[in-house]
Symmetry: C2
Subunit: 234 residues, 2 copies
Protein backbone atom coordinates (compact mmCIF):
# COMPACT_ATOMS: atom_id res chain seq x y z
CA UNK A 1 0.00 0.00 0.00
CA UNK A 2 1.35 3.41 -0.94
CA UNK A 3 -0.03 6.45 0.84
CA UNK A 4 -2.27 8.40 -1.53
CA UNK A 5 -1.78 5.99 -4.38
CA UNK A 6 -5.10 5.71 -6.16
CA UNK A 7 -6.35 2.45 -7.61
CA UNK A 8 -9.00 2.96 -10.27
CA UNK A 9 -10.85 -0.33 -10.45
CA UNK A 10 -12.43 -0.46 -13.87
CA UNK A 11 -9.82 2.01 -15.06
CA UNK A 12 -10.01 0.68 -18.61
CA UNK A 13 -13.54 2.15 -18.97
CA UNK A 14 -14.22 5.75 -19.95
CA UNK A 15 -14.81 7.27 -16.51
CA UNK A 16 -12.07 5.29 -14.78
CA UNK A 17 -9.53 5.93 -17.52
CA UNK A 18 -10.34 9.64 -17.48
CA UNK A 19 -9.88 9.86 -13.71
CA UNK A 20 -6.61 7.90 -13.92
CA UNK A 21 -5.20 10.20 -16.58
CA UNK A 22 -6.26 13.40 -14.81
CA UNK A 23 -4.83 12.31 -11.47
CA UNK A 24 -1.60 11.01 -12.95
CA UNK A 25 -1.11 14.27 -14.81
CA UNK A 26 -1.49 16.09 -11.51
CA UNK A 27 1.36 14.03 -10.08
CA UNK A 28 -0.60 11.40 -8.14
CA UNK A 29 0.56 7.78 -8.46
CA UNK A 30 -2.25 5.78 -10.04
CA UNK A 31 -2.79 2.12 -10.77
CA UNK A 32 -5.43 1.02 -13.24
CA UNK A 33 -7.22 -2.18 -12.33
CA UNK A 34 -8.99 -4.55 -14.69
CA UNK A 35 -10.26 -8.12 -14.49
CA UNK A 36 -7.69 -8.86 -17.19
CA UNK A 37 -4.11 -7.93 -16.29
CA UNK A 38 -3.08 -7.47 -19.91
CA UNK A 39 -5.93 -5.00 -20.49
CA UNK A 40 -4.91 -3.12 -17.36
CA UNK A 41 -1.30 -2.86 -18.56
CA UNK A 42 -2.40 -1.75 -22.02
CA UNK A 43 -4.65 0.94 -20.52
CA UNK A 44 -1.79 2.09 -18.29
CA UNK A 45 0.50 2.41 -21.30
CA UNK A 46 -2.18 4.34 -23.17
CA UNK A 47 -2.64 6.60 -20.13
CA UNK A 48 1.10 7.29 -19.87
CA UNK A 49 1.19 8.22 -23.56
CA UNK A 50 -1.77 10.61 -23.18
CA UNK A 51 -0.10 12.22 -20.18
CA UNK A 52 3.30 12.60 -21.86
CA UNK A 53 1.67 14.54 -24.67
CA UNK A 54 -0.55 16.68 -22.44
CA UNK A 55 1.65 17.27 -19.40
CA UNK A 56 1.25 20.41 -17.36
CA UNK A 57 4.59 22.27 -17.27
CA UNK A 58 6.57 21.84 -14.08
CA UNK A 59 4.81 18.73 -12.82
CA UNK A 60 6.25 15.27 -12.79
CA UNK A 61 3.49 12.89 -13.76
CA UNK A 62 2.76 10.00 -11.49
CA UNK A 63 3.41 7.08 -13.77
CA UNK A 64 0.33 4.93 -14.27
CA UNK A 65 0.60 1.22 -13.57
CA UNK A 66 -1.75 -1.57 -14.63
CA UNK A 67 -2.72 -4.62 -12.60
CA UNK A 68 -5.46 -7.16 -12.06
CA UNK A 69 -8.22 -5.56 -9.89
CA UNK A 70 -7.45 -7.26 -6.57
CA UNK A 71 -3.73 -6.51 -6.83
CA UNK A 72 -4.46 -2.92 -7.83
CA UNK A 73 -6.77 -2.49 -4.82
CA UNK A 74 -4.08 -3.88 -2.51
CA UNK A 75 -1.57 -1.30 -3.79
CA UNK A 76 -3.53 1.83 -2.97
CA UNK A 77 -4.89 3.87 -0.07
CA UNK A 78 -7.74 5.23 -2.19
CA UNK A 79 -9.73 2.64 -4.13
CA UNK A 80 -12.13 4.07 -6.72
CA UNK A 81 -14.66 1.80 -8.39
CA UNK A 82 -15.76 2.98 -11.83
CA UNK A 83 -17.53 0.13 -13.57
CA UNK A 84 -20.92 -0.27 -15.27
CA UNK A 85 -23.58 -1.24 -12.73
CA UNK A 86 -23.96 -4.90 -13.78
CA UNK A 87 -20.27 -5.48 -12.95
CA UNK A 88 -20.31 -3.80 -9.54
CA UNK A 89 -21.12 -6.74 -7.26
CA UNK A 90 -18.88 -9.25 -9.04
CA UNK A 91 -15.90 -6.93 -8.94
CA UNK A 92 -16.54 -5.97 -5.33
CA UNK A 93 -16.42 -9.65 -4.41
CA UNK A 94 -13.16 -10.07 -6.30
CA UNK A 95 -11.45 -7.25 -4.37
CA UNK A 96 -13.04 -7.98 -1.00
CA UNK A 97 -10.03 -9.84 0.38
CA UNK A 98 -7.68 -7.11 -0.74
CA UNK A 99 -9.86 -4.55 1.05
CA UNK A 100 -10.04 -6.76 4.16
CA UNK A 101 -6.27 -6.61 4.40
CA UNK A 102 -6.01 -2.95 3.44
CA UNK A 103 -3.93 -0.62 5.59
CA UNK A 104 -5.48 1.68 8.17
CA UNK A 105 -6.86 4.80 6.50
CA UNK A 106 -7.73 3.17 3.18
CA UNK A 107 -10.94 4.57 1.68
CA UNK A 108 -13.31 3.21 -0.94
CA UNK A 109 -15.05 5.49 -3.44
CA UNK A 110 -17.94 4.20 -5.51
CA UNK A 111 -18.79 5.92 -8.79
CA UNK A 112 -21.33 3.36 -9.99
CA UNK A 113 -24.59 4.62 -11.48
CA UNK A 114 -27.45 2.11 -11.85
CA UNK A 115 -28.51 3.40 -15.26
CA UNK A 116 -31.25 1.38 -16.92
CA UNK A 117 -29.15 1.60 -20.09
CA UNK A 118 -26.61 -0.78 -18.54
CA UNK A 119 -29.19 -3.56 -18.84
CA UNK A 120 -30.70 -2.44 -22.14
CA UNK A 121 -33.10 0.24 -20.85
CA UNK A 122 -33.28 3.96 -21.53
CA UNK A 123 -30.24 6.11 -20.72
CA UNK A 124 -32.42 8.61 -18.86
CA UNK A 125 -33.84 5.99 -16.49
CA UNK A 126 -32.53 4.22 -13.43
CA UNK A 127 -32.79 0.74 -12.06
CA UNK A 128 -34.17 0.29 -8.57
CA UNK A 129 -31.43 -0.89 -6.23
CA UNK A 130 -32.67 -2.71 -3.14
CA UNK A 131 -30.31 -0.85 -0.80
CA UNK A 132 -31.40 2.49 -2.27
CA UNK A 133 -28.32 3.27 -4.33
CA UNK A 134 -25.27 1.63 -5.84
CA UNK A 135 -23.13 3.29 -3.17
CA UNK A 136 -25.25 1.79 -0.39
CA UNK A 137 -25.03 -1.59 -2.16
CA UNK A 138 -21.24 -1.18 -2.15
CA UNK A 139 -21.39 -0.36 1.57
CA UNK A 140 -22.85 -3.82 2.18
CA UNK A 141 -20.08 -5.54 0.25
CA UNK A 142 -17.02 -3.55 1.33
CA UNK A 143 -15.53 -4.66 4.68
CA UNK A 144 -17.06 -2.58 7.47
CA UNK A 145 -13.78 -1.00 8.58
CA UNK A 146 -13.22 0.64 5.19
CA UNK A 147 -15.24 3.86 4.80
CA UNK A 148 -17.34 4.08 1.63
CA UNK A 149 -17.99 7.30 -0.25
CA UNK A 150 -20.10 7.90 -3.34
CA UNK A 151 -18.65 10.41 -5.84
CA UNK A 152 -17.88 11.25 -9.49
CA UNK A 153 -21.33 10.26 -10.72
CA UNK A 154 -22.06 13.48 -12.56
CA UNK A 155 -18.81 13.85 -14.41
CA UNK A 156 -18.66 13.56 -18.19
CA UNK A 157 -16.33 10.63 -18.86
CA UNK A 158 -15.69 11.94 -22.33
CA UNK A 159 -14.61 15.41 -21.20
CA UNK A 160 -12.47 13.85 -18.49
CA UNK A 161 -10.44 11.84 -20.99
CA UNK A 162 -9.77 14.81 -23.23
CA UNK A 163 -6.95 16.61 -21.43
CA UNK A 164 -7.55 19.65 -23.64
CA UNK A 165 -11.16 19.97 -22.49
CA UNK A 166 -11.79 22.28 -19.53
CA UNK A 167 -13.89 20.65 -16.80
CA UNK A 168 -16.68 22.61 -15.12
CA UNK A 169 -18.45 20.43 -12.58
CA UNK A 170 -18.97 20.03 -8.86
CA UNK A 171 -18.31 16.59 -7.44
CA UNK A 172 -21.04 15.77 -4.94
CA UNK A 173 -19.54 13.50 -2.30
CA UNK A 174 -21.81 11.36 -0.10
CA UNK A 175 -20.66 9.35 2.88
CA UNK A 176 -20.91 8.77 6.59
CA UNK A 177 -17.21 9.11 7.41
CA UNK A 178 -15.89 12.63 7.80
CA UNK A 179 -12.20 11.66 7.74
CA UNK A 180 -12.69 9.80 4.47
CA UNK A 181 -14.22 12.89 2.91
CA UNK A 182 -11.29 14.98 4.11
CA UNK A 183 -8.97 12.51 2.39
CA UNK A 184 -10.86 12.57 -0.92
CA UNK A 185 -11.54 16.31 -1.19
CA UNK A 186 -7.92 17.39 -1.89
CA UNK A 187 -7.64 14.67 -4.54
CA UNK A 188 -10.70 16.10 -6.28
CA UNK A 189 -9.22 19.59 -6.06
CA UNK A 190 -6.09 18.35 -7.86
CA UNK A 191 -8.18 18.03 -11.02
CA UNK A 192 -8.66 21.49 -12.49
CA UNK A 193 -12.29 22.52 -12.89
CA UNK A 194 -13.65 20.13 -10.28
CA UNK A 195 -14.84 21.20 -6.83
CA UNK A 196 -15.80 18.77 -4.08
CA UNK A 197 -19.12 19.47 -2.36
CA UNK A 198 -20.14 17.55 0.75
CA UNK A 199 -23.63 16.28 -0.10
CA UNK A 200 -24.26 14.62 3.25
CA UNK A 201 -24.66 10.97 4.28
CA UNK A 202 -24.14 8.00 1.97
CA UNK A 203 -27.88 7.61 1.43
CA UNK A 204 -27.85 10.88 -0.54
CA UNK A 205 -26.15 8.86 -3.30
CA UNK A 206 -29.71 7.83 -4.23
CA UNK A 207 -30.03 11.35 -5.55
CA UNK A 208 -26.51 12.05 -6.82
CA UNK A 209 -26.54 8.80 -8.81
CA UNK A 210 -29.95 9.69 -10.27
CA UNK A 211 -28.64 13.10 -11.31
CA UNK A 212 -26.50 11.34 -13.90
CA UNK A 213 -29.68 10.26 -15.70
CA UNK A 214 -30.96 13.82 -15.43
CA UNK A 215 -27.79 15.20 -17.04
CA UNK A 216 -28.09 12.63 -19.83
CA UNK A 217 -31.65 13.87 -20.40
CA UNK A 218 -30.43 17.48 -20.42
CA UNK A 219 -27.69 16.54 -22.92
CA UNK A 220 -30.30 15.05 -25.24
CA UNK A 221 -32.63 18.01 -25.02
CA UNK A 222 -29.94 20.64 -25.38
CA UNK A 223 -28.01 18.66 -27.99
CA UNK A 224 -24.80 18.93 -25.99
CA UNK A 225 -22.55 16.18 -24.67
CA UNK A 226 -20.92 17.40 -21.49
CA UNK A 227 -23.47 19.00 -19.22
CA UNK A 228 -22.48 19.08 -15.58
CA UNK A 229 -23.69 20.68 -12.40
CA UNK A 230 -22.61 23.43 -10.07
CA UNK A 231 -24.09 24.12 -6.67
CA UNK A 232 -24.75 27.84 -6.15
CA UNK A 233 -25.06 29.78 -2.92
CA UNK A 234 -22.31 27.96 -0.98
CA UNK B 1 -59.34 33.52 -18.18
CA UNK B 2 -56.73 36.15 -18.88
CA UNK B 3 -53.91 35.33 -21.27
CA UNK B 4 -50.67 34.89 -19.31
CA UNK B 5 -52.31 35.55 -15.99
CA UNK B 6 -50.67 33.24 -13.49
CA UNK B 7 -52.61 31.57 -10.69
CA UNK B 8 -50.40 30.44 -7.85
CA UNK B 9 -52.40 27.78 -6.05
CA UNK B 10 -51.00 27.63 -2.54
CA UNK B 11 -49.72 31.14 -2.99
CA UNK B 12 -49.95 31.84 0.72
CA UNK B 13 -47.06 29.42 1.36
CA UNK B 14 -43.39 30.41 1.09
CA UNK B 15 -42.63 29.14 -2.41
CA UNK B 16 -45.96 30.22 -3.91
CA UNK B 17 -45.87 33.64 -2.28
CA UNK B 18 -42.29 34.17 -3.48
CA UNK B 19 -43.21 33.27 -7.06
CA UNK B 20 -46.29 35.51 -6.95
CA UNK B 21 -44.28 38.48 -5.73
CA UNK B 22 -41.46 38.02 -8.23
CA UNK B 23 -43.82 37.65 -11.19
CA UNK B 24 -46.02 40.55 -10.15
CA UNK B 25 -42.97 42.76 -9.77
CA UNK B 26 -41.99 41.83 -13.33
CA UNK B 27 -45.37 43.08 -14.54
CA UNK B 28 -47.25 39.78 -14.86
CA UNK B 29 -50.82 39.66 -13.54
CA UNK B 30 -50.95 37.14 -10.71
CA UNK B 31 -53.72 35.72 -8.59
CA UNK B 32 -52.93 33.97 -5.33
CA UNK B 33 -55.13 30.99 -4.55
CA UNK B 34 -55.88 29.54 -1.15
CA UNK B 35 -58.48 27.17 0.28
CA UNK B 36 -59.61 30.13 2.36
CA UNK B 37 -60.58 33.21 0.34
CA UNK B 38 -59.78 35.58 3.19
CA UNK B 39 -56.26 34.16 3.50
CA UNK B 40 -55.80 34.54 -0.25
CA UNK B 41 -56.87 38.18 -0.13
CA UNK B 42 -54.61 38.89 2.85
CA UNK B 43 -51.65 37.29 1.06
CA UNK B 44 -52.42 39.33 -2.06
CA UNK B 45 -52.44 42.53 -0.02
CA UNK B 46 -49.16 41.56 1.61
CA UNK B 47 -47.70 40.81 -1.84
CA UNK B 48 -48.81 44.16 -3.22
CA UNK B 49 -47.17 45.93 -0.27
CA UNK B 50 -43.90 44.05 -0.76
CA UNK B 51 -43.92 44.93 -4.45
CA UNK B 52 -44.70 48.61 -3.90
CA UNK B 53 -41.65 48.90 -1.69
CA UNK B 54 -39.34 46.87 -3.95
CA UNK B 55 -40.50 47.85 -7.41
CA UNK B 56 -38.07 47.84 -10.30
CA UNK B 57 -37.97 51.32 -11.85
CA UNK B 58 -39.96 51.73 -15.05
CA UNK B 59 -42.16 48.67 -14.63
CA UNK B 60 -45.80 48.75 -13.73
CA UNK B 61 -46.45 45.91 -11.33
CA UNK B 62 -49.17 43.43 -12.16
CA UNK B 63 -51.44 43.86 -9.19
CA UNK B 64 -51.84 40.65 -7.21
CA UNK B 65 -55.32 39.36 -6.56
CA UNK B 66 -56.45 36.79 -4.03
CA UNK B 67 -59.18 34.15 -4.51
CA UNK B 68 -60.29 30.73 -3.41
CA UNK B 69 -58.22 28.10 -5.28
CA UNK B 70 -60.80 26.98 -7.84
CA UNK B 71 -61.72 30.55 -8.77
CA UNK B 72 -58.04 31.49 -9.00
CA UNK B 73 -57.38 28.52 -11.30
CA UNK B 74 -60.31 29.52 -13.53
CA UNK B 75 -58.86 33.04 -13.90
CA UNK B 76 -55.48 32.10 -15.32
CA UNK B 77 -53.80 30.55 -18.34
CA UNK B 78 -50.87 29.33 -16.25
CA UNK B 79 -51.78 27.45 -13.08
CA UNK B 80 -48.89 26.81 -10.70
CA UNK B 81 -49.35 24.44 -7.76
CA UNK B 82 -47.03 25.15 -4.83
CA UNK B 83 -48.31 23.30 -1.79
CA UNK B 84 -46.77 20.86 0.68
CA UNK B 85 -47.04 17.28 -0.61
CA UNK B 86 -49.81 16.11 1.76
CA UNK B 87 -52.12 18.80 0.34
CA UNK B 88 -51.46 18.08 -3.33
CA UNK B 89 -54.21 15.55 -4.11
CA UNK B 90 -56.94 17.30 -2.14
CA UNK B 91 -56.26 20.63 -3.78
CA UNK B 92 -56.00 19.08 -7.24
CA UNK B 93 -59.46 17.59 -6.74
CA UNK B 94 -60.80 20.97 -5.68
CA UNK B 95 -59.56 22.71 -8.85
CA UNK B 96 -60.29 19.84 -11.23
CA UNK B 97 -63.56 21.31 -12.53
CA UNK B 98 -61.94 24.68 -13.07
CA UNK B 99 -59.19 22.99 -15.10
CA UNK B 100 -61.78 20.96 -17.04
CA UNK B 101 -63.35 24.18 -18.22
CA UNK B 102 -60.05 26.00 -18.74
CA UNK B 103 -59.45 27.79 -22.02
CA UNK B 104 -57.38 26.28 -24.81
CA UNK B 105 -53.68 26.74 -24.11
CA UNK B 106 -53.93 26.66 -20.33
CA UNK B 107 -50.97 24.91 -18.72
CA UNK B 108 -50.48 23.37 -15.30
CA UNK B 109 -47.15 23.55 -13.47
CA UNK B 110 -46.51 21.35 -10.44
CA UNK B 111 -43.87 22.40 -7.92
CA UNK B 112 -44.69 19.79 -5.30
CA UNK B 113 -41.81 17.93 -3.63
CA UNK B 114 -42.66 14.74 -1.71
CA UNK B 115 -40.27 15.51 1.14
CA UNK B 116 -40.43 13.05 4.03
CA UNK B 117 -40.40 16.10 6.31
CA UNK B 118 -43.94 16.94 5.17
CA UNK B 119 -45.17 13.88 7.08
CA UNK B 120 -42.74 14.15 9.98
CA UNK B 121 -39.67 12.50 8.41
CA UNK B 122 -36.20 13.85 7.70
CA UNK B 123 -35.86 16.92 5.47
CA UNK B 124 -33.17 15.19 3.40
CA UNK B 125 -35.39 12.21 2.57
CA UNK B 126 -38.23 11.63 0.14
CA UNK B 127 -41.46 9.72 0.26
CA UNK B 128 -42.06 7.11 -2.39
CA UNK B 129 -44.84 8.21 -4.72
CA UNK B 130 -46.61 5.39 -6.54
CA UNK B 131 -46.58 7.21 -9.87
CA UNK B 132 -42.86 7.93 -9.52
CA UNK B 133 -43.04 11.62 -8.68
CA UNK B 134 -45.45 14.25 -7.46
CA UNK B 135 -45.55 15.70 -10.97
CA UNK B 136 -46.60 12.33 -12.41
CA UNK B 137 -49.21 12.04 -9.64
CA UNK B 138 -50.52 15.45 -10.71
CA UNK B 139 -50.62 14.24 -14.33
CA UNK B 140 -53.13 11.57 -13.25
CA UNK B 141 -55.39 14.10 -11.56
CA UNK B 142 -55.25 17.02 -13.99
CA UNK B 143 -57.67 16.71 -16.96
CA UNK B 144 -55.84 15.06 -19.87
CA UNK B 145 -56.18 18.04 -22.23
CA UNK B 146 -54.19 20.33 -19.90
CA UNK B 147 -50.43 19.80 -20.24
CA UNK B 148 -48.58 19.21 -16.97
CA UNK B 149 -45.04 20.43 -16.30
CA UNK B 150 -42.86 19.95 -13.23
CA UNK B 151 -40.73 22.95 -12.25
CA UNK B 152 -39.49 25.26 -9.45
CA UNK B 153 -38.54 22.38 -7.15
CA UNK B 154 -34.99 23.51 -6.51
CA UNK B 155 -35.66 27.13 -5.76
CA UNK B 156 -35.09 28.55 -2.28
CA UNK B 157 -38.50 29.82 -1.16
CA UNK B 158 -36.82 32.10 1.33
CA UNK B 159 -34.55 33.80 -1.22
CA UNK B 160 -37.48 34.12 -3.59
CA UNK B 161 -39.53 36.11 -1.09
CA UNK B 162 -36.72 38.54 -0.32
CA UNK B 163 -36.82 40.92 -3.27
CA UNK B 164 -33.40 42.24 -2.27
CA UNK B 165 -31.80 38.79 -2.55
CA UNK B 166 -30.23 37.95 -5.91
CA UNK B 167 -31.34 34.57 -7.27
CA UNK B 168 -28.82 32.19 -8.83
CA UNK B 169 -30.55 29.00 -9.90
CA UNK B 170 -31.54 27.05 -12.98
CA UNK B 171 -35.15 25.94 -13.16
CA UNK B 172 -35.27 22.38 -14.45
CA UNK B 173 -38.51 21.93 -16.35
CA UNK B 174 -39.88 18.45 -17.01
CA UNK B 175 -42.82 17.66 -19.23
CA UNK B 176 -44.10 15.89 -22.29
CA UNK B 177 -45.62 18.91 -24.04
CA UNK B 178 -43.25 21.10 -25.99
CA UNK B 179 -45.69 23.99 -26.46
CA UNK B 180 -46.32 24.14 -22.73
CA UNK B 181 -42.60 24.43 -22.09
CA UNK B 182 -42.35 27.23 -24.62
CA UNK B 183 -45.11 29.03 -22.74
CA UNK B 184 -43.44 28.64 -19.34
CA UNK B 185 -39.83 29.41 -20.28
CA UNK B 186 -40.32 33.17 -20.93
CA UNK B 187 -42.18 33.46 -17.62
CA UNK B 188 -39.18 31.94 -15.83
CA UNK B 189 -36.87 34.33 -17.66
CA UNK B 190 -38.88 37.28 -16.33
CA UNK B 191 -37.49 36.52 -12.87
CA UNK B 192 -33.92 37.79 -12.70
CA UNK B 193 -31.35 35.16 -11.84
CA UNK B 194 -33.44 32.21 -13.01
CA UNK B 195 -32.81 30.27 -16.21
CA UNK B 196 -35.15 27.61 -17.56
CA UNK B 197 -33.50 24.33 -18.58
CA UNK B 198 -35.44 21.66 -20.43
CA UNK B 199 -34.81 18.52 -18.38
CA UNK B 200 -36.77 16.18 -20.62
CA UNK B 201 -40.01 14.24 -20.11
CA UNK B 202 -42.27 14.53 -17.08
CA UNK B 203 -40.83 11.35 -15.57
CA UNK B 204 -37.55 13.22 -14.99
CA UNK B 205 -39.40 15.00 -12.18
CA UNK B 206 -38.51 11.92 -10.12
CA UNK B 207 -35.01 13.30 -10.13
CA UNK B 208 -35.63 17.06 -10.09
CA UNK B 209 -37.96 16.67 -7.11
CA UNK B 210 -35.36 14.55 -5.31
CA UNK B 211 -32.72 17.21 -5.94
CA UNK B 212 -34.58 19.42 -3.46
CA UNK B 213 -33.69 16.96 -0.70
CA UNK B 214 -30.11 16.96 -1.93
CA UNK B 215 -29.92 20.77 -1.74
CA UNK B 216 -31.36 20.66 1.79
CA UNK B 217 -28.58 18.20 2.67
CA UNK B 218 -25.98 20.49 1.09
CA UNK B 219 -27.41 23.45 3.04
CA UNK B 220 -27.01 21.54 6.29
CA UNK B 221 -23.46 20.43 5.55
CA UNK B 222 -22.29 23.80 4.29
CA UNK B 223 -24.23 25.75 6.90
CA UNK B 224 -25.88 27.89 4.23
CA UNK B 225 -29.57 28.45 3.53
CA UNK B 226 -29.98 29.09 -0.18
CA UNK B 227 -28.00 26.58 -2.20
CA UNK B 228 -29.24 26.14 -5.74
CA UNK B 229 -28.05 24.47 -8.89
CA UNK B 230 -26.70 25.49 -12.25
CA UNK B 231 -26.27 23.19 -15.21
CA UNK B 232 -22.89 23.70 -16.90
CA UNK B 233 -21.84 22.88 -20.45
CA UNK B 234 -25.07 23.96 -22.15
Amino acid sequence: MTENKIAVIGGTGDLGFGLAVRWARAGVPVVIGSRDEKKARDAAERANNVIDSGMLPGLAPGPVGGMENARAAAEASVVVLAVPFPGQAVILKSIRDALKNAAEGTIFVDATVPLAATVGGKPTRLLGVWQGSAAEAAREMVPARIPVLGAFHNLSAEALQDLGAPLDCDILVCGDDEAAKQKLFPLIQLIEGLRPVDAGPLEMARITEAMTALLISVNRRQKVRHSGIRITGI
